[in-house]
Subunit: 402 residues, 2 copies
Amino acid sequence: MSYTDIPGNVTAPQGFRAAAMNCGVKPDKPDLVLIHSDHPAAAAATLTTNQFRAAPTYVTESVVADGAARTIVANSGNANCATGAQGLANAQRMGQAAAAATGVLPAEVVVCSTGVIGHQLPIEKIEAGIAALGGQLGQTDPETIARSIMTTDTYPKAVSIEFDLGGTPARIGGICKGAGMIHPNMATMLAFFTTDAPIVPELLRKALRDAVNVSFNCISVDGDQSTNDTVAILANGACGALTIECEDDPRYPVFADALRYCCTVQAQRIAWDGEGASKRITIDITGARTWDEARQIGRHLANYTLLKVAYWARDFNWGRIAAGAGAAGVPIDTSRVNIDWCGIRTFAAGEPQAFDVAAGRQALAADDIAITVDLGLGDACCTVWTCDLTPAYIEFNAIDEL
Amino acid sequence: MSYTDIPGNVTAPQGFRAAAMNCGVKPDKPDLVLIHSDHPAAAAATLTTNQFRAAPTYVTESVVADGAARTIVANSGNANCATGAQGLANAQRMGQAAAAATGVLPAEVVVCSTGVIGHQLPIEKIEAGIAALGGQLGQTDPETIARSIMTTDTYPKAVSIEFDLGGTPARIGGICKGAGMIHPNMATMLAFFTTDAPIVPELLRKALRDAVNVSFNCISVDGDQSTNDTVAILANGACGALTIECEDDPRYPVFADALRYCCTVQAQRIAWDGEGASKRITIDITGARTWDEARQIGRHLANYTLLKVAYWARDFNWGRIAAGAGAAGVPIDTSRVNIDWCGIRTFAAGEPQAFDVAAGRQALAADDIAITVDLGLGDACCTVWTCDLTPAYIEFNAIDEL
């Protein structure tokens, strides 16, 4: 399915406005954003499973529990994580400030933070910024909105599409950030989506969960799961169609597909804009017994350090694919396995294959690298996206960016 | 318990001889070793759990199944992994050649390989080398024996001790190699031990398994589990004492402690000589509900990329310890957690602590770095060893060394 790109990211859907600014968490770049629906909206979010979850994730979890929210507030530059009781109070104060600034209840405000761990937020600066942003909704250009949540990303990541929802044009828009500490099951990543499609909270939650599973949960930069990961969506129904109330409504899969498309595009951008990355890696695991097993192997390969180095080094050492696939904790029968790298079959049905090593090295010069591991055990498959590991990643992380 | 170091590594125990040479797998360095007991010996081994296990691990598994073996043959420079039917035949030929060269049965020969994956062994060169080594047993200096299994190690790793086994002096000797693809549950590492202590195979197996669990299975360089990992031990009883036949024999814990000491020393050397490593990291997880949970968190921290970079960068960013501990998949209560880094308490009972950041940075200048995460949940604890991740690791792995 292809979609028509439109401008505006989170403000492309009807009835959403946003504003962003620098409030002083970072020295100069935008570090605070407010996204607001002019109408009541269904809301859903998926959150990190890290045991050291950041304070705002507790606030957001509670806010979306009833399936409704109207405002998203987020800062970059400070994760508000491992900050104890004061951190939780500060996250609540962020929500209260955003509620006051947008004229909603605190229970309608999704709160997010990203940045360095273990430092208290400069909450007064953030509160002052939020109050100012309340009067600027709709006045910030979309690129600045997307830039406001960036940490080490090299470019702002935004998407907005229009699609036909059973005869009515509807829209989904989104911004996200990633770069480091990126691992399936959510990482140091934030992704916000808005839509003017009308849908009840239960189905919005299901559509988001299904979309996240095959997108944000199928990427990895460094295997490091983060403390703040949040994907949140607000659906305000402003496109004017009747509400999608059951899964049998033929418009439900239309909406779910459009959301999956937006999530996948954004997830790939996060994976491929990993810190220090120089290549875009796509790993297909096919012929698995189950999707879970396919994903487990794909994710393990995406994190396999020696393989991530090989991409960068143009070292066509396919044995690292075999070793990585074998270390994922999934039972496989090596005599049924085929391994293709950049279209070159290196291993087939248990036997190493003769191939032109020079051609392999040459193939690794490309920016896009594809690996397929066919397990020969079943019909399930999964695609995982990652990047290479380069000396720049290490130098990048030598000092935490704000 | 402290032990007396003696020279000789695997030939320090009575009744063991060894020989090593370059047989042409590598361009010049020693790449083939034969270790032989002049007497029948009990044998035990622990092997990689990688699904893409190398051919020799199947041979070794079958050889040690009956608890007896007399010879170990190993080559470096080629892993004989992902090599199909021919690879298995070649591993068997290595065993047969070593059996002929040392006058034992093929079923008494432990076979090991380490090196690059996916290439067939130059088996004729190896067979010729093994035949030559049969006539040179006892003529190779111990350092060359230890060097023969090195791949990217920066120095040969050898240990030999003498201890009092209920009134009779007994000895344990060992060599090992590691460097890359090092992860708990065995990695691209080989470790061979010999002992002249007399012990039945069942107890030798138990002592080895227990020792490996708290040593080689508690180290990590890069999180990449390998295809060839093997720890093997031969016990020939040549010290002259009566055989240890039951766990209640007071000499069993004496032997088990001595073996654990040798395994721990060698495991630390592997962890701290990781490819490109510049620091020795020791991670203590205390106050856990169970040892398994403590080890799971310790291993996760040992592999947490951003933390491994922080050691190298002298970035006293303790939030990465929290994030890594929280991502290990073990339920914890952050309000009970204490985190100490280089003796500085950074987090206590759920709250970040005030400390001198400059002192933290200064502490990270040391070669030895200690982390303690106290979970406050129970009495179990585990120590894990690892190294830092440096740009040199990546450059190291750009081209596979033979």
